[in-house]
């Protein structure tokens, strides 16, 4: 790799030739490793544990669609709550009124600092602690609020960064046209801020999809199971990993397209700039 001259007595390779040779050696090594693994693996066993055909069928028929739907619904509801609350928190964070700033900073630091699962456990215990407390749309309401609170803290910071990325001249131009501060924020600042933060917000959705796997601690009934809880229970009762593998693929089916979408949007924004 370095510029040593020890190979000098022989025919000296040009740096480009040497780099080419090193590249070929690395390809060869990778092939050797892959062949070794393929030969050493017990394919029958792997298939039995991870891809057992009758388990695949059972996973699909017993309630995968419902679990898949629940994961989507939990994520979507939490996203809406997180987005609305996050926008309010971001505006509070940038407010000229001190107490607003302190409140939103406390909120954001609190929910970002706690493990999400702690928040969910607390939410699961709320109805026990406060007798008679009913969160509507059970079980969705509880999940949406719990997941949405956590999401709002992260989204608030993203949105705040987006608002601050809008040049100061924009608010000045809006105000100089006689627009009051509120109208200028709604019509000029926020639309631009959200355009900036669409890719990072989509990343938040991906995180939310994954975080929705933690809501099992809320103690949901079987009809409220999402992918992880469903797959895990089925895997446990059958002592086989196939249901979890399928649940995993379901997550990828949601998150991979979103990742690709984010990359496209980022590429387009780069081009626009």
């Amino acid at each position: 790799m370095s510029t040593t001259t020890e190979a000098a007595p022989k025919k000296k390779l040009s740096p480009r030739r040497r780099a080419q040779r090193i590249r070929w050696i690395q390809y060869a090594l990778l092939v050797v490793v892959a062949v070794a693994i393929a030969l050493a693996a017990d394919w029958q066993q792997i298939k039995e544990v991870f891809f057992r055909p009758d388990m695949i069928k059972a996973t699909f028929t017993e309630g995968l669609p419902n679990a898949f739907k629940n994961t989507l619904v939990y994520t979507a509801g939490a996203f809406v709550i997180g987005l609305l609350l996050g926008t309010v928190l971001a505006l509070m964070r940038l407010s000229s009124i001190g107490p607003y700033r302190w409140l939103s900073t406390m909120w954001i630091e609190f929910f970002r600092g706690l493990p999400a699962i702690v928040v969910f456990i607390a939410f699961g215990l709320l109805p026990l602690a406060f007798e008679g407390l009913v969160i509507p749309y059970d079980p969705y309401g509880t999940v949406w609020v719990a997941l949405g609170l956590v999401a709002s803290a992260y989204m608030a910071e993203t949105i705040r960064a987006g608002i601050q990325a809008v040049p100061k001249g924009q608010i000045e131009a809006a105000r100089s046209l006689g627009m009051p501060a509120g109208a200028a924020t709604r019509k000029i600042i926020l639309p631009q801020a959200f355009r900036v933060v669409t890719p990072p917000l989509t990343n938040e959705v991906i995180l939310l999809v994954k975080d929705s796997s933690l809501v099992y601690v809320l103690g949901l009934s079987a009809s409220g199971y999402e992918l992880t809880k469903y797959g895990r229970d089925l895997a446990n009762s059958n002592a086989n990993l196939t249901p979890l593998v399928i649940a995993g693929f379901c997550y990828l089916a949601i998150t991979l397209p979103l990742s690709i979408l984010v990359r496209r949007m980022e590429a387009r924004q780069k081009k626009e700039r």
């Binding site: 924009q170 000045e172 131009a173 100089s176 046209l177 006689g178 627009m179 109208a183 019509k187 000029i188």
Partner: protein
Amino acid sequence: MSVSAIAPGAPVVEVTDLHKSFGSNHVLRGLDATIHQGEVVCVIGPSGSGKSTFLRCINLLEQPTSGSIKVDGEEVTDPDCDIDAIRRNMGMVFQQFNLFPHLSVLENCTIAQTTVLKRSKDQARAMARENLEKVGLSEKEEAFPAQLSGGQQQRVAIARALSMDPKLMLFDEPTSALDPELVGDVLSVMRRLASEGMTMFVVTHEMAFARDVADRVIFMDAGVIVEEGVPEQVIGTPTEERTKVFLQRVLDPTHVEAGAEDVAYAKRHVGEVAAVDERHPGTHGRYSGGAGLG
């Protein structure tokens, strides 16, 4: 050149003893000025002299530290005054254009009309189209700002401000961010606006524009008004030393130092300003760029 030069109308803006500090930096040190109806006032001066801050104080984009600014007799620094209402009557054009990038050219010109003046969409569009035609960009109404050149963006910005039917237009170095070859289009729009009788307050580095279009030129340096008067006097035969030095630097940027003999040179030179463009077309770079237009 300007029709309004004949008889200045009623005062539109009256500034008295205006001070502005940014922290310990005392930027404006007691300005007094009046802008009359139909008048074109150009403010010139070295960078850092406070001329942009002066202009931004008038529509309260900067909060003055002390002093009085009256627009149509109303004190804008008074907390009881409705600054949004006053700003509606005062168009502003920025150095960096500040068009709204998420809106089309037409929407840029209609959004404040519909949200602030409560005009109907059709009314707002008609008004916007009228002004876009005035700046020569009718065919660009569907375009987005990023698709336009700097000069086109600045003309849209002028149309946007005009669509609010302002009584007064503020221009904050409107051509300073433009490529030299695009300056002329913007200046000719401004010339036309001036000839239509618009009251204009222009911070500029375009000496030819100030000389030809302004009814009055204000020379600022270090936060004070050093010299003020008709362009022939301030640019043609300045009396203050600081004005002479500044004008010499601006009109002959290649000339090196301002020693005693250079001031004499400057005196001779600025006396020739009016003839400069015809004799040395192009040699004075952008400062004569707009002279032949309009």
